[in-house]
């Protein structure tokens, strides 16, 4: 890591590259110092608000939908292609269509995050709910447990590792959703900040905001991993 940074520093100075094209590392650091608080932070917070809000809604929503679909095989067959379709279509293109319905405020960005995150959570949880070991289900039959009891006591717990894999992927997609939501809708958010800075060739702010978004994404991801490690303590 340090080697790369050193190389970067030397190359920019040695070839005295125009700071507009590739700012040296120290430029970026200075950009961080003076520009972080006034410019980058507020936008970062807006995006983070949408991101976290969207994610927190998408998680229970996704698991709930997966639980409902898992109840019958036909439902699973019908739901899977639909889920894949929503998963694959980048939500950013639906934004211009949603705007006439919802209008321009932040709600739409949260919706973008939800629509981007929920499908992968549903897909993973669905796979988890439909692949429970037969022996565990037999155990429940020996107690004459009802369908709901079986789900609550066995299926959900047995599928937890798969569900969390979905949550991790969801976290990645939600950050993508949040940033693309900013770019598509505009009006605040780190995405627009980067775009504007790039258009005004303020490359050091571009780099600084990119690094801060990446930092935000990494922190959120580690939070999800940390929660998983505590919840699935028995592994």
């Amino acid at each position: 890591m340090i080697i790369i940074l050193l190389l970067w520093e030397i190359s920019t100075i040695a070839f005295h590259v125009d700071s507009k094209v590739l700012p040296s590392f120290t430029d970026i650091l200075s950009a961080f110092q003076n520009k972080f608080i006034p410019i980058i932070l507020p936008d970062l917070l807006i995006t983070m608000k949408n991101l976290v809000l969207g994610y927190v809604i998408a998680v229970p929503l996704g698991i709930l939908i997966a639980a409902i679909c898992a109840q019958s095989q036909t439902l699973v067959k019908i739901a899977t292609p639909l889920i894949i379709m929503t998963l694959v279509t980048p939500v950013i293109i639906i934004v211009p269509i949603l705007i006439p319905f919802i209008g321009f405020d932040a709600k739409i960005k949260v919706l973008v995050v939800i629509l981007q995150t929920a499908p992968i959570i549903i897909l993973n949880s669905l796979v988890g709910f439909t692949n429970v070991k037969q022996e565990k289900l037999d155990l429940m039959k020996s107690y004459g447990a009802s369908r709901f009891e079986i789900f609550r006591k066995i299926t959900f717990m047995d599928a937890l590792p798969r569900v969390f894999a979905g949550l991790e992927l969801g976290c990645i997609l939600s950050t993508i959703g949040a940033v693309s939501g900013d770019i598509a809708v505009g009006d605040g958010g780190i995405g627009t900040r980067i775009q504007m800075a790039a258009s005004t060739l303020a490359t050091d702010t571009v780099f600084a905001s990119i690094l801060s978004t990446c930092l935000l994404a990494i922190i959120l991801f580690q939070v999800v991993v940390w929660i998983e490690r505590n919840v699935i303590a028995w592994k």
Partner: protein
């Protein structure tokens, strides 16, 4: 054979019902055309304006395929390289895993700055966004190969290459395919987003144009094409995986 048909007919029927519901709900709630167009209008747009849409479709599809194949090869080779020697493993893995979690859409404006607008930066975005997830899944798959099978290799003192070919690669197929599916999804995502933010051609850009001119049906038609690409890619990959896996008792499809 019966199971095959029902597993295809059912979802198709569901989609058709969805379209019909969509159609009826528009007429009931009398939603103005510029807000939401009817499926019939979209279908017409598909046929009438194919001259306008097709070049964009062709442009995006080629980008996605090239980017996806590149990302896959880079991910797979990096994965086997990391699995190969320990040093590379220790130094590279943390960074590649971090790359997975970073929304690389942010670098599109930067790339535009450096390379201007056009096909190269879109393909570059696709590769950068999709190869880490592929590499991550490959590394995980290569790492937890069944130790017993490795022990069989040890008992014959087999070289690294043979070990990879006979034991590690075949055993890791489920994990590798999960990686392939995920990078396919991310490739499409990143290509459209790149086109919308930085490109001037391709479906992403075309949608911007259509929306600007309030030609909703055409915009929806483009979305249809993207969804179609996604479905085709996803199901063809699962089909290939199923055929390879038919020889083993695989534990069902999972996107880890």
């Amino acid at each position: 054979m019966k199971r095959k048909i029902s597993s295809f007919l059912l979802p198709a029927a569901a989609v058709i019902i969805l379209f019909i519901l969509w159609e009826i709900s528009i007429s009931i709630f009398a939603i103005p055309a510029w807000k939401l167009s009817r499926p019939t209008e979209i279908a017409m747009a598909l046929f009438r304006d194919y001259k306008e849409i097709l070049p964009a479709v062709f442009y995006t599809y080629t980008n996605v395929i090239i980017g996806f194949v590149l990302a896959m090869t880079v991910g797979l080779s990096l994965g086997s390289f990391i699995n190969g020697n320990k040093l590379a493993g220790v130094t590279l893995t943390p960074y590649v895993n971090l790359l997975c979690t970073i929304p690389l859409i942010t670098i599109v404006p930067l790339l535009m700055l450096w390379f201007g607008i056009g096909r190269p930066i879109i393909i570059l975005t696709i590769v950068i966004q999709s190869f880490p997830i592929m590499n991550f899944n490959c590394c995980v798959a290569f790492a937890n190969v069944d130790p017993l099978r490795l022990e069989l290799m040890d008992s014959f003192k087999v070289g690294k290459l043979k070990r990879l070919y006979y034991c590690i690669l075949p055993d890791a197929i489920p994990g590798v395919f999960t990686g392939i599916k995920l990078s396919a999804i991310l490739s499409i995502l990143s290509s459209i987003t790149a086109e919308m933010t930085g490109g001037n051609q391709g479906l992403g850009a075309q949608i911007n144009v259509f929306v600007a001119f309030l030609k909703m049906p055409q915009a929806m038609a483009c979305i249809f094409y993207i969804a179609l690409l996604g479905l085709v890619l996803y199901y063809s990959i699962s089909h290939i995986e199923a055929r390879i896996m038919k020889t083993r008792n695989n534990e069902g499809e999972q996107a880890s």
